[in-house]
Symmetry: C2
Subunit: 109 residues, 2 copies
């Protein structure tokens, strides 16, 4: 049976600042890839702030601050059993990101 | 019993051009308001093209062309019975827009 997180189409809705013009969305084939995507957003932001930085390192608290700093962030995860997308909030995303980073730190993919 | 279309939170996912940077989303309290929103997008575009135009008029075929010209357009409509969002494609949106405009033309709201 496919791992709970694999192959569940995941849409991330994101609003960077109070201006609705900054609203955008990204979509991924799984929750794990969506968490990679959110970490990737943060890493790109770190590179923008420190272009000379060669190795980027940060801890979960830094990632949480980034997530909390966004005007809006939510996820919609496809559930095959109901052929619909379940909505999840920022808090859920932070938990998933934490477990995702922990799994990567322990060498899991 | 509330009308089928009223008070169903509706998210419109939109990508204007092949560049993913043009991805954005809008959300509305009902399907009807979402259709108003899509018509509003088209009317703003017409005003951009013809700033001097005072009265904007268009028929459904024009609106369809606008919708077909978008790189991507889909809707997610909240279904209270499953607490999840049902996904709908461009074709569904065109049908809903048609019925919406017909209702307005007949003086309905």
């Amino acid at each position: 049976m496919a791992n709970h997180n694999s192959s569940r189409h995941t849409i991330i809705l994101l609003q960077n600042s109070p201006s609705r013009a900054t609203r955008t969305f990204m979509d991924y084939d799984s929750i794990g890839q969506a968490m990679d995507g959110i970490c990737g957003l943060y890493e790109r932001k770190l590179k923008e702030i420190n272009p000379s930085l060669r190795n980027i390192s940060y801890d979960i608290a830094d990632l949480y601050n980034f997530i909390d700093g966004l005007a809006d962030l939510s996820a919609l995860v496809y559930d095959h059993s109901i052929s619909a997308y379940l909505p999840y909030d920022r808090q859920w995303i932070k938990q998933k990101a934490f477990h995702h980073l922990k799994r990567i730190a322990n060498g899991g993919r």
